[in-house]
Symmetry: C2
Amino acid sequence: MSATLKVDLGARSYPIHIGAGLLDDAALLPGLVKSGQVVIITNTIVGPLYLERVTRHFADRQCHVFELPDGEGAKSFANFERALGFMLERRIERGATIVALGGGVVGDLAGFVAACYQRGIGFVQVPTTLLAQVDSSVGGKTAINHALGKNMVGAFHQPTAVVADITTLDTLPPREFSAGLAEVVKYGLIRDYAFLEWLEAHLDALVAREPAALTEAILRSCENKAEVVAGDEFETGARATLNLGHTFGHAIETALGYGAWLHGEAVAAGTCMAAAMSARLGWLDADAVARIERLLGRAGLPLRPPAGLGPAQFMDVMARDKKNVGGHIRLVLLRALGEAVVTRDYPPEALAATLAAATTAA
Amino acid sequence: MSATLKVDLGARSYPIHIGAGLLDDAALLPGLVKSGQVVIITNTIVGPLYLERVTRHFADRQCHVFELPDGEGAKSFANFERALGFMLERRIERGATIVALGGGVVGDLAGFVAACYQRGIGFVQVPTTLLAQVDSSVGGKTAINHALGKNMVGAFHQPTAVVADITTLDTLPPREFSAGLAEVVKYGLIRDYAFLEWLEAHLDALVAREPAALTEAILRSCENKAEVVAGDEFETGARATLNLGHTFGHAIETALGYGAWLHGEAVAAGTCMAAAMSARLGWLDADAVARIERLLGRAGLPLRPPAGLGPAQFMDVMARDKKNVGGHIRLVLLRALGEAVVTRDYPPEALAATLAAATTAA
């Protein structure tokens, strides 16, 4: 089973190919990468596993490999500058293509390098984690981190194609796989109730990494994200709903230091906090909150922030979040299961109470 | 006399205001900057001269000033990172506006910071050099330099407005003023023969910095550039004609090290080389070449590359130029006065002979 989805962005439209064994397709990658110069950006974990399966398609091209260290820390200014210098030293031209082979960290940094190298060159995403396949390879967001905040420096730069080979998920550690499921569940929660029900029925198959279930879940996640992004490429409106759980989640990641919790783990706990706050505002009932927690729990995800994190730390980091406008903390909440709202219009006490409850429960 | 020009780029359209005393207009800058947070990026030369005239308009806003060192060296990775850190420390939000107060270096760096800060925020250009007023504030190109090449890292990011107050040119050193004229002459050469004739008639008034002549020259330069850019925002075609003299010029700047020659000086010598090569191909006659050299000479500009630079150095740097596609060196040449062509289709001997003649003449 394999599927192709077209992300419709006018002149910047591109295809997402999803399926088992796509890296071994003798026509796919060579056809998507049209340039004579290819720069593969990967990392020290993914490179040894999949690099050879990618480079053999470019034996007749000028192909260079730039390897990043593993982990969120790789999304640094230093590596950004290093990658650009690597390309300049090799006289990579404007018509060249970057291939991002790895998870979200590799994709975010490689995409930002592609966005800035000579003011923008093409890049193809080859995401090798569930999180990257369902989320960071769709939407054109690229970024690096700063000590004062995650993804604070970046660009909107669409890939020319995405190749999501689900066989690369076979080597994914269980924690990382679960973290990806947090974003899958998100699409059901924010805009696709039918998909939420499908997930409740198929979560065990997903956790067992059954190919048909995986392909379906990735396809439906990408479809949902693509529809949102197509309607709001530069994140001025509806796209913000994709940040369900992310404002709370970023606070967890920032307060703990990047890498202590995986992004998806922080999003899962943040999603539970958003659900709790939605219930506090009368939008979700206790049963709906329980369904969310049950699904995330079955996916092996944390439902509460880590112990030791207090409301003040949340407020401090959230006030710095780039989604804020005019000093108010913008939140993505659930009006119902399958319907998200973006709002700054809530009683401050509701947020305070939500933070207090979540952090004492931990 | 003042003028306003609209650069037509659909959703990214913006106005260019040109005239004497615009910095003192109590309504203009405050109206163009709509945000509560303002970050003025300037440098140690321009700041002391004009900062107060800008900041007083934002007395009721949260206004921060980030000062760069003077010179092309300021367009560095280090300053890029430092400016972003400065803004993050002050919790500058996504709705904020950057005001770039200075010449092309300040505008290029400030624009790239605006392009990347939280994936893009608004910025207003307040160019204070002739070069920046006619050239770098129109077109959306932003960039920083790398040891291996100028403007090698950057983004296309349009300003929300440009305010060109010609009284700021009063403090401009003669060499810098002349350098700006090189780009003014360029517009006549590449696409506006009537403007070329106007320049031949009014160059003395321009050199004397007469306000009416300045406003007219800047307006017509911006109109020409805006028309080219509107038709080719991302530099895939006609926009390349704006690089007349730049391929040779960049080679001069890179070989000498940034700052030894001003950009406009290198462009002037490069334009003479492009003219000589055009003559060699039979497109310009000796009289046309002489008119170009006479005009640039009256503007106080160099007509030859610096002594000591040989053909091999030119070839080495030009082969690295980011405008190359497929290994051939792309050149902007003149089919006639007022008509530029972009071509890779020329006898390599013609380029070799042009380089040899220009470098032995020096």
